[in-house]
């Protein structure tokens, strides 16, 4: 068994940017007018867990990007969150995000405040309605490939367990936007002293592990799409789910 310390050391020893780095998993976080940077530690943890648990090669540090950044499309995985409301996107941001999602980008929206009908929840629904008016948020069924892209999971916990499921905007049957009201990366966030910033409620450490698995599955889905829906996997997975 490889220790956590060894893995962290190995990850830290990765070159800053070398050949093949552009193809690695590099989380990007959306800079907006609200509290956009509350989960950079969680994103780092997500990348680290991805490196530790899977064969995916990562760069740990998240790249802050505004939605109208000309290099936004070099980062196919995008994280958007806030604690509370955030100002509306500019028209250029709306159009660039629409292009990003249409041509293959993946956006994970995470309600850091666990809000429902107000705060971040109201703001993100408002903005997504502008970006993808033809693809409204819909509840993802538990049979969706996101729940089996690496770990077999049947719920969508985060720091909270407000909603048992995820919502998504589908573009050509692909979940281009996934939205959680449970603050998934809040469960992975550490403070400056290196301790967990939040205690997941109500499940504690066990819920944190499931939140980690959900976050990893989301990253795997962004990288592999519906790979685990291939015919070769289905019988095995169905058998394991029984």
């Amino acid at each position: 068994m490889v220790s956590r310390r060894v893995l962290l050391a190995a990850a830290a020893s990765l070159p800053a940017f070398g050949f093949g780095d552009a193809s690695r998993f590099i989380p990007a976080v959306v800079k907006h007018g609200g509290k956009w940077d509350l989960r950079t530690s969680g994103l780092r943890r997500l990348a680290w867990e991805l490196q530790r648990r899977t064969s995916v090669e990562v760069l740990l540090e998240a790249r802050p990007m505004t939605l109208d950044h000309p290099r936004l499309l070099e980062h196919p995985f995008l994280y958007l969150s806030s604690d509370g409301d955030f100002p509306p996107f500019s028209q250029a941001e709306v159009e660039n995000l629409r292009r990003y999602l249409t041509f293959g980008g993946f956006l994970f929206c995470d309600a850091n405040d666990g809000s429902d009908g107000a705060g971040f929840d109201a703001a993100i629904r408002r903005e997504l309605a502008r970006v993808l008016p033809q693809s409204p948020l819909t509840v993802l069924p538990s049979t969706h490939v996101i729940f089996k892209s690496f770990f077999l999971i049947d719920s969508a916990p985060g720091r909270f367990l407000n909603k048992p499921s995820l919502e998504a905007c589908l573009v050509n049957k692909r979940a281009a936007v996934v939205y959680s009201q449970n603050d998934v990366l809040g469960a992975l966030n550490r403070d400056e002293s290196g301790t967990w910033e939040f205690e997941p409620s109500p499940g504690g450490a066990r819920q944190r592990e499931y939140a980690t698995r959900l976050a990893l599955n989301l990253a795997m889905y962004a990288l592999c799409l519906d790979y685990k829906d291939d015919a070769v996997h289905l019988p095995v997975i169905m058998n394991r789910r029984r």
Partner: protein, 761 residues
């Protein structure tokens, strides 16, 4: 013509018919009035007496009005025609029985034997002898012997319709048809008498007497038919059903062999249980390459056989793709894999099977080992299944950045399987990255033998925009737009790729894209290199950053689909899509009857796929079994780049037609097709006598059937000849006799006396 006397009753009245009719009507009216006048007579006896006398008087008056007479005539019976039809098809050269005379000679003898009987009927029937091949032509016994039958077609239905159609033109009516044939029809009645032909023959109006010529007992082995679809899907099994007819082969086993252009594909044994039996032998085989191929089914030729040529039968089979079956293997999840997967999944012509290494040996899933099967969705990487058992089921194998030294996923053990797969016609593509070539973890590259490049050092890190080479500017893989200039512009518009592996092209490979500045051995470092290996094709891209062509290329608002087009082109080139060639050669038709020329249509296109008018085209006809050139033709393409060439009829067998073209001394490529020239046509393929068909024809038309050429004409149903008036007629009056007049006077006088006696005026 024999004359005889006969008579008939006629009216000799000099008045016109209209007058006679008018007077007759007036007479009936007068009798009616006379009867009406005594309707009040109280005594029924008197009334009936008066009515009887008045009607009798009216009848007498009518008799004298019509003036009947007897006309004496002299008549004669006209001769009718009897058409004797003789089958002149090639199968009439077969013997009637083993070591017997030919069927044609048997007919000649039968006609000689019938001569006395036809002479006896010559005053009533004119016997006319015709041969049909299948055109009708008058013939004689001497003519039958002088010219052996040689027609390649037996068409009994057409011959009968022709003889019936000729009836209207002659003065003599057709009294019947006597048909001599072996019944081996290979036209409308090939599958028996039914449907419209049966209806037509039933309404022919002429009895057709059929005479079967030939007996059973012949020794012959014939491949009657090969039932197989016109096309098959590559790497999918197809079944060819061979109908083998054995006559005189009871309790014998016969070896049936299926070959593809000289190479044995399969062989089977058929055992006959009787002396006249048809066996169906099924060959199920799996074509492993697209294109058109000639397959030949053959059985041995035995010395006692009647026909040797029907022991072989060839057919052309076009092998096409169903959906392109692509195996995508990725060393790890990456953005290159993600966007390539997106393209392949969206392509309706692609069936994608993918395996990604989601976890390495050192990775810790965070799940205790006992719970892993329950909590992880991972499955073992079925290397043996994919790269040994089922490798031949894939049209294309694409491997991404796979340089594992982990023994759990390494493919080093399958390098020979992969090489064999490619050499046998498979397609292989490799995309590099940080675990490939100079950056690979493993010292053994399992794909080394098949890749068109070798490692040339560590990676080039600087981002760059790929540059088309001279070959790439005209190659279908890199043709992203119509025309070289547009393609170059499309490649130049792609965003920079973040670095690439340094590789060196192998000898014989073609570099299509290069780094704009980095060099290997003094040449621009290759990015996209292709090659052919055996019958297969390979492609290598020295980067895992091709997804930059897919996603970041849309950053500036671009809507193009050049990444999709590039991969579509690459897949089509890898699987040798026929539409992706500049030269197309098609045998027309692909199966040629014996003695017919072999036609070939060539379509020449320029490197940008525009027609190549004036292209110099040469085509070789090559024996597919031994590879020697049988004939050669050349010509110049028309304005649409098309030309049709014809070869004189070659010997029966399987051939390849290989075409080459040049335009302005630049080669446009080479292409080939296959053509089967049959050994025998349908006429000689079958030596049997189809007596059942002849019997059915006789039944449908009201004729008789004889199973041998010896019969009596008296047993042949013929229509009777009609009678016609040939002499003068003589009229003899019947009305001008005294007793007829006396009867009239007596009846009228009696009526007057009775009327007066009863008190009428």
């Amino acid at each position: 013509m024999e004359s005889i006397d006969t008579w008939k009753l006629v009216s000799l009245s000099p008045h016109p018919l209209l007058v006679v009719v008018a007077l007759s009507v007036a007479l009936v009216f007068g009798v009616g009035l006379a009867c009406w006048g005594v309707r009040r007579e109280s005594s029924p006896r008197r009334r009936w007496l008066l009515w009887t006398l008045r009607v009798l008087a009216g009848l007498c008056a009518f008799f004298f009005l019509v003036e009947p007479g007897l006309r004496r005539l002299q008549v004669a019976r006209v001769k009718n025609r009897v058409a004797v039809l003789v089958d002149r098809s090639g199968s009439m050269n077969f013997p009637v029985e083993p070591r017997g005379v030919t069927r044609n000679e048997a007919v000649a003898k039968a006609l000689e034997a019938l001569a006395p009987q036809t002479d006896a009927l010559k005053d009533r029937y004119a016997f006319e002898t015709y041969g049909f091949d299948p055109e009708l032509g008058a013939t004689t016994v001497e003519g039958l012997r002088a010219q052996p039958p040689r027609s390649g077609r037996s068409d009994l239905f057409a011959a009968l319709r022709a003889i019936k159609a000729g009836e209207g033109g002659g003065a003599r009516k057709l009294a019947g048809v006597i048909l001599f044939s072996d019944g081996a029809d290979n036209a409308d009645l090939a599958s028996g008498l039914s449907g419209r032909p049966k209806q037509v023959l039933e309404q022919l109006g002429v009895p057709v007497t059929t005479v079967a010529v030939g007996k059973g007992g012949l020794t012959d082995l014939a491949i009657d038919a090969v039932r197989v679809d016109d096309f098959a899907f590559v790497r999918n099994s197809i079944t060819a059903e061979v109908e083998l007819h054995g006559r005189g082969f009871a309790d014998q086993a016969v070896q049936v062999v299926l070959k593809r252009e000289g190479q044995v594909v399969a062989s089977k044994t058929a055992t006959f249980t009787s002396n006249d039996e048809t066996q169906t032998v099924k060959f199920t085989f799996t074509p492993d390459q697209t294109g058109r191929f000639v397959y030949t089914v053959s059985v041995p030729v035995y010395p006692e056989e009647v026909v040797a040529e029907n022991n072989t039968r060839s057919f052309a089979l076009k092998v096409i793709r169903d959906r392109v079956r692509v195996l995508l293997v990725s060393g790890r999840p990456s953005w290159d894999e993600r966007f390539l997967r997106g393209v392949l999944r969206a392509d309706a012509n692609v069936e994608l099977i993918s395996f990604y290494i989601l976890r390495n040996q050192l990775d810790d899933s965070g799940v205790s080992q006992g719970n892993e099967p329950r909590e992880l969705s991972l499955i073992p990487f079925p290397r043996e299944e994919i790269f040994q058992k089922k490798i031949d089921t894939f049209d294309v194998i694409i491997v991404l950045n796979f340089g594992h030294e982990d023994q759990g996923v390494s493919l080093a053990a399958f390098r020979n399987d992969i090489e064999r797969y490619v050499r046998n016609g498979g397609a292989f593509a490799y995309l590099g990255g940080d675990r490939s070539f100079g950056e690979a973890q493993s010292s053994i590259n399992p794909f080394d033998e098949v890749l068109p490049v070798t490692t040339a050092g560590t990676a080039e890190l600087a981002p760059f925009v790929a540059k088309l080479t001279l070959q790439g500017a005209t190659h279908p893989i890199t043709a992203l737009a119509s025309g070289t200039v547009s393609s170059e512009a499309a490649w130049a518009a792609f965003p920079a790729i973040p670095g690439m592996n340094l590789t060196r092209p192998r000898e014989g490979s073609t570099v299509l894209l290069t780094h704009p500045t980095a060099q290997v051995d003094g040449q621009p470092a290759p990015l996209l290199t292709i090659s052919e290996l055996g019958r297969g094709r390979t492609l290598a891209i020295g980067t895992d950053g091709t997804w930059y062509w897919a996603f970041p290329s849309h950053a500036g608002g671009g809507q193009g689909r050049n990444y999709e087009r590039f991969w579509s082109n690459a897949i089509r080139w890898l699987v040798r899509d026929p539409d992706l060639t500049t030269l197309s050669v098609t045998a027309d038709p692909s199966s040629v009857e014996p003695g017919k020329p072999v036609g070939v249509v060539v379509v020449a296109r320029q490197p940008d796929y525009q027609p190549a008018p004036g292209a110099k085209v040469s085509v070789e006809l090559i024996d597919a079994d031994d590879g020697h050139v049988v004939a050669q033709q050349a010509g110049e393409a028309a304005a649409d780049g098309t030309i049709r060439l014809e070869f004189p009829p070659p010997e029966p067998g399987a051939y390849k037609v290989v075409g080459r073209a040049t335009k302005d001394d630049k080669p446009l490529g080479e292409s080939s097709d296959a053509v089967a020239v049959r050994a025998v046509g349908p006429e000689l393929a079958d030596a049997r006598v189809n007596a059942a068909l002849l019997e059915d024809v006789a039944k449908a038309t009201g004729g008789a059937f004889f199973d041998a050429p010896s019969f009596n004409l008296s047993d042949v149903p013929l229509r009777e000849p009609p009678l016609v008036e040939v002499g003068r007629s003589k009229d003899q009056p019947l009305w001008d006799r005294w007793y007829w007049l006396s009867m009239l006077v007596v009846v009228v006088g009696l009526e007057w006396a009775v009327r007066r006696r009863f008190g009428y005026v």
